[in-house]
């Protein structure tokens, strides 16, 4: 087990074999899950797909390094729609993602209301992922202030988004609010830079050479890392998280990642050969270091793929939400469901 932040040194650039094997296992599970979701979409078992294939080398180590739990003693996660690897690393059941894809009543994240990859897990402080880009960066200072208030607390707040999204107001809000002198907040801002916003390339939309440079004027610690290398990503995340945990100050981390199946099902959700595949890269490493053989890993992939195929068939039989359930949870507490009607 390497996932406790207390024992992960930020300096380790090479992970121990068992740790790397564990990273691989989770990355593979994440990839297989996304491929299942894409297949479900293509076969008509869901209306829309968006997810994180190509970000696993970043999202999995992130989930492993999280100080997991409920409440301000633990880390808060303000994720985006490419965070399935993080959820699996936290321990999420991949079948729940199939349920959200199929918008069943059993979908624990939204009860069949929201698109795939829109997580919300109270017991792990995973606050609701919502479709509007970047709003998580406006909320992050709030959970970070709660983290900071815990005497001796080590919980931090992590907010993650894409590159194009940094043009939104909320990204600047997070920079401003987390760096106020004397009132700095323990926020780790992560930008997963895949060099695209839907169809729009990074070039032509940015004056910054590195998005992470935007932290500098605010005295925010920054780094840009190779998010397609699981070890580099792990080390970069660990270093950044250690800093935020210990210093109770913000950090802006930019990770260069891939978009392996394009933006979403709206753009076809087909594998993009030109992009660097972090899973293939890690598998090569594992073979080179003789930690796993390709055959072992291929077999694991086949097995996991089969498992999720079976699961998707079962999910197909689960109930859809009822029409009346639109009224559930409009309000917390005992308010009449529709207020005034």
């Amino acid at each position: 087990m390497i996932s406790s932040p207390a024992v992960t040194s930020a300096k380790e650039k090479t992970l121990a074999p068992d740790a790397l094997a564990r990273v691989h296992d989770l990355m593979l599970r994440a990839r297989v899950l996304e491929e299942r979701l894409i297949t479900m979409y293509k076969q008509g078992d869901g209306y829309f797909w968006i997810g994180g294939p190509g970000e696993e080398a970043l999202s999995v180590p992130l989930g492993m390094l999280v100080h997991k739990g409920e409440g301000p003693e633990h880390d808060y996660l303000h994720l985006h729609y490419r965070s399935s690897g993080t959820l699996l690393a936290l321990g999420a059941d991949p079948v729940d993602s199939l349920r959200q894809m199929k918008n069943t009543a059993t979908d624990p994240y939204s009860g069949g209301r929201n698109f795939a990859s829109h997580y919300a897990v109270k017991r792990w402080n995973v606050v609701p992922v919502s479709s509007p880009i970047e709003v998580q960066f406006s909320m992050a200072p709030g959970t970070a202030l709660a983290n900071k208030r815990v005497p001796g607390g080590r919980g931090i707040t992590i907010a993650q988004g894409g590159d194009a999204g940094t043009a939104e107001a909320d990204f600047a809000t997070c920079l401003v609010w987390s760096s106020r002198k004397g009132a700095e907040l323990p926020v780790l801002m992560i930008v997963a830079n895949n060099r695209y916003g839907i169809s729009t390339p990074y070039e032509g939309q940015h004056g910054e050479v590195r998005i992470s440079d935007r932290g500098k004027a605010f005295g925010i610690a920054t780094a840009t890392i190779d998010g397609n290398d699981a070890e580099a990503a792990h080390a970069g995340l660990a270093a950044a998280m250690d800093y935020v945990r210990a210093e109770r100050r913000p950090f802006l981390l930019e990770a260069m990642v891939s978009r392996l199946y394009g933006h979403s099902s709206a753009s076809g959700a087909n594998f993009v050969r030109e992009e660097d595949d972090c899973l293939a890269r890690l598998e090569k490493k594992l073979v080179e270091r003789k930690i796993k053989t390709q055959a072992e890993m291929d077999a694991a992939r086949t097995r996991l793929t089969q498992e999720l195929l079976e699961a998707s068939k079962r999910v197909r039989e689960e109930p859809q939400p009822t029409p009346e359930s639109i009224w559930d949870h409009v309000f917390a507490g005992e308010t009449s469901r529709d207020g005034g009607r």
Binding site: T143, A146, T173, T335
Partner: protein, 353 residues
């Protein structure tokens, strides 16, 4: 007799002491000013934010998601229109997470005209607010409700918007409508809780021992019973309609005034009862009149009470123009004035079905 704004401050103090409020924040909310209308003077947990309304709402949402009970302020509701997406998100939090995450924040903001505030200090927010599913919306019209609704807002597990009619903030409680626990002598109260002019760095408020008063969200109040015509209103227009009712009373028109107090959920039984009683109803508010909350109430009235109506129900509201102009003529022509209310009441009362 506490004023409206003192009542807010006292409620916030109770919130800090007994209801778990750890943060009261917004632009100029902390020392030295304690709010541009003094609502947050002397409060232990009040602090100044950056000039960023989106950040203010986001901070409140984050704190609420972390189980805190934040109270934030937008300095004027006129400056809340860059946060509508976040407000929608706060209202959707519990619902879209299938009940996992509540968002128990309070957003206070001064609303309405009546202080010669020109284009950007005269906006209303009731129409916009009632278009935010998942929010509760309250709008007190007097110090006692200001106190009791703020306590209820803080205790509520949902996002609650607290619209404070800025022209009423200096209004004093009427005899018999004191806040429970406030000192009898208003000079004494002022000495205790109003920050002094000049250097305030060493000033500390001295808080009276206030008692609880939870005005239920969703419950209207009959301000004035009457037989002939009903006025369903809230906020500043409660005062305006009372004056108008006095005027038409001299002509023998007996007006019933319902102060909704909560816009969502709203007290439909109270509206139904008054319409069934007088059969003539004026809906009155000062927000602009196209796609106005009063129009929702009219819609429901005609939907459910069509045959109880002895006259077409009326709306009196602000004009559909881009803002309230500064000159008195402009403000008076833009938001309902007493004379117009009087005219509407007369017309309703005299209308022959």
């Amino acid at each position: 007799m506490a004023t409206f704004v003192q009542a807010m401050r006292l409620a916030l103090h109770v919130g800090e002491e007994r209801l778990g409020v750890t943060d009261i924040f917004g632009e100029d909310v902390g020392p030295p000013l304690g709010g541009v209308f003094t609502a947050t003077q002397g409060l232990r947990t009040a602090w100044n934010t950056p000039l960023d309304e989106r950040g203010i709402v986001g901070m409140a949402m984050g704190l609420a998601l972390a189980g805190q009970r934040p109270v934030c302020e937008i300095q004027f509701c006129d400056y809340a229109f860059n946060t509508v997406d976040l407000l929608k998100l706060a209202g959707a939090m519990h619902w879209s997470s299938n009940g996992a995450f509540a968002c128990p924040m309070v957003l206070m903001t001064p609303v309405g005209a009546g202080i010669r505030g020109s284009i950007y200090h005269s906006h209303s927010f009731d129409a916009t607010a009632t278009r935010l599913p998942g929010w509760k919306i309250v709008m007190p019209s007097n110090p006692r409700d200001a106190y009791g609704l703020l306590l209820s807002a803080i205790r509520d597990p949902n996002p609650v918007m607290y619209l404070a009619p800025k022209a009423l903030l200096r209004l004093k409680a009427r005899p018999g409508e004191e806040l429970p626990g406030e000192p009898g002598d208003e000079k004494a109260l002022s000495k205790m809780i109003d920050a002094p002019l000049g250097d305030r760095s060493r000033w500390r408020a001295e808080w009276p021992k206030m008692e609880d008063l939870f005005v239920p969200i969703g419950e209207a109040r009959t301000v004035r019973p009457g037989r002939d015509v009903s006025v369903v209103t809230y906020g500043r227009m409660v005062q305006a309609s009372s004056a108008a009712a006095d005027e038409v009373a001299r002509e023998g028109i007996d007006v019933e005034i319902i102060d909704l107090r909560s816009l969502h959920p709203y007290d439909w039984p109270a509206i139904r009862a008054t319409v069934k009683k007088t059969n003539r109803v004026l809906f009155l508010n000062e927000d602009t009149e196209v796609t106005n909350f009063g129009e929702h109430l009219i819609r429901r009235t005609v939907e459910e009470l069509f045959y109880d109506l002895h006259a077409p129900p009326r709306l009196l509201a602000g004009k559909h123009v881009p803002g309230v102009g500064l000159a008195d003529n402009l403000e008076h022509a833009s938001v309902p004035q007493r004379a117009e209310i009087v005219a509407a009441l007369r017309e309703l009362a005299r209308h022959e079905a």
